[in-house]
Amino acid sequence: MAIDVSPTFKPRLPGYRFNLTGWASLAVVVAWAAVAILAPYLTPHGVGDIVDLDYFGPMSAEFPLGTDYLGRDMLSRILFGARYTVGISLAATLIACTTGVTLGMAAAVSGGWFDAALSRFLDALNSIPSKLFGLVVVAGVGSSIPVLILTLAIIYTPGSYRFARALAVNVNTMDFVTVARIRGERLGYLIGSEILPNIIGPVFADVGIRFVFIVLLLSGLSFLGLGVQPPEADWGALVRENIGGLPFGAPAVMAPSFAIASLTIAVNLLIDNLPQKIRDRSA
């Protein structure tokens, strides 16, 4: 916030303005969310139906994104894949961030051995490369959607914890927190009503960044064949099953990748262009 020296010269509602890039990226994110919810009504062909006699068909009026390795409509499969990619990632992000932020605030408020032990442990967990962690868990437990959600959540909890703790430590030194503590408020009230409202903006931005990481990791695992299992397919799995079309330059290979990229880039841009007031609302 050091740059923002002249808020008084801005028009009314300073800092709540949303620029064009922000609107555009918000539109892309909302569109993918709508697709994930409405997928069954939007798909032009059945997801599992073999509709083309040719495989790896090119783009055409009937099949806008071509057909896959079995002759299924690629557009329908991508629209349906949005459910898995967006749904699993969102669930994992919410679990990771709720756990991480709650623990982070609790550690900052409690301090002492609780803080020290938790920080050490989660830092150690954080130094396992994320893809490797996914590989090891899938090897041990097998891959299913609940396992994927939990694994992704565990992998990204430490980062969220560290971020929230750093913010909460600053708020924790404020007078109003001291007053509330002297008043005899419990831990739940302190973190829910005193700390959280003052760090909520940056925490939201962090949720977005972690969502991008999770989408990328999920896609990577599915691409390796260790994520979402057939016959269900998220975008990473769609790339994997159609990788054989690469030598022919089939649209079925690149289209799911572009879907992933459009989502992750849009979320990143949305966070970068969030109104100042929301992004920097800390203390």
Partner: protein, 316 residues
């Protein structure tokens, strides 16, 4: 060297050792969650109960999990990695050659990407705000936002399918000439470089920009030094610590990238070995590969931390 600095470094190494212990616990635990008798799986359905019992005691399977954890940890520490379930070979033997291939790939990538990334990061910091800087920044954000396999497939599509300069997915084993070697390594190295350079460029640019914002750089500008001299003589020496730190950190991203790249290009490295081991559920092999990966990763991030500590003049 004073005692404060030494205690900082010692503390950092202790943290690294503790982390390695927690990591090994997690790796061992994650692969032991699922119920199921390894001895029965290994011997097949026709095995007699006596044979299963014999194998169980030979493999220490009757001991509590915590004891087995320490047996396994002791084995790791003394270089005994155990035996693969899938083909009954000593794991050390399986890993040896693969590790060498992976390290070759990593070394080639580092040699190729570090100079380019540093040059791009430093020049974009020098030309901050120009079209060139914006182009580099946008490109790096884009690369960071897309999955590694997209970079790899796009590369294959452009260089192998459309331009036909390079062989596509499979790697030929017989290397006759230096030209052939370059052609084989080109795609994997190119993809990995792309992935790690993006991080390196961003961090290098940030470090140099910070150094350029200092009073002594302004002083140099006021006394009339040229832009090149300001950057090379005044800003860079002070940004060197953060830059080396950035390089070490970026190299740790190699580990994530290498898993995807070795799989997609069928490169016979340790990451491919591990992904294959996951599909055959060869647990001892997975554990060993995971520990090697975590060890290298910790080595890189600890090195990065130590360089950051050493390069901070306030701590010397």
């Amino acid at each position: 060297m004073n005692t404060h600095l030494l205690s900082l470094l010692g503390g950092r190494l202790l943290v690294a050792l503790f982390t390695l212990f927690v990591v090994s616990f997690v790796v061992f635990g994650a692969t032991q969650i699922l119920p199921g008798d390894v001895a029965e799986v290994l011997l097949g359905q026709a095995a007699t109960p006596e044979a299963v019992a014999g194998l169980r005691s030979a493999m220490h399977l009757d001991d509590p999990a915590i004891l087995r954890f320490f047996y396994w940890l002791g084995g790791l520490a003394t270089g005994d990695l155990g035996t693969s379930y899938a083909n009954n070979m000593p794991i050390a033997q399986l890993i040896g050659g693969r590790l060498k291939s992976s390290l070759q790939l990593a070394a080639a990538t580092a040699l190729f990407s570090v100079p380019i990334a540093l040059a791009l990061g430093i020049t974009s910091a020098m030309l901050r705000g120009t079209l060139y800087d914006r182009a580099v920044t946008t490109a790096t954000i884009t690369v960071i936002s897309v999955p590694e396999f997209m970079v790899a497939t796009a590369g294959v599509l452009i260089f192998a399918v459309w331009l036909k300069w390079l062989p596509s997915l499979s790697i030929a084993r017989n290397v006759d000439s230096f030209g052939e070697l370059i052609r084989i390594y080109a795609m994997p190295v190119f993809t990995l470089s792309f992935v790690i350079s993006a991080q390196m460029i961003r961090m290098t640019r940030a470090a140099v920009v910070e150094a350029l914002n200092t009073p002594y750089v302004e002083m140099a500008r006021l006394k009339g030094a040229s832009r090149t001299r300001i950057v090379l003589r005044h800003a860079l020496p002070n940004a060197l610590g953060p830059i080396v730190n950035a390089v070490a950190l970026s190299l740790s991203y190699l580990l994530g990238g290498v898993i995807i790249v070795e799989t997609i290009f069928n490169y016979p490295g340790i990451a491919k070995l591990m992904v294959d081991a996951v599909s055959t559920r060869d647990l001892p092999l997975i554990q060993s590969c995971a520990m090697i990966f975590c060890f290298v990763y910790l080595l890189l991030i600890t090195t990065a931390d130590i360089i950051a500590i050493l390069s901070n003049p306030k701590l010397r």
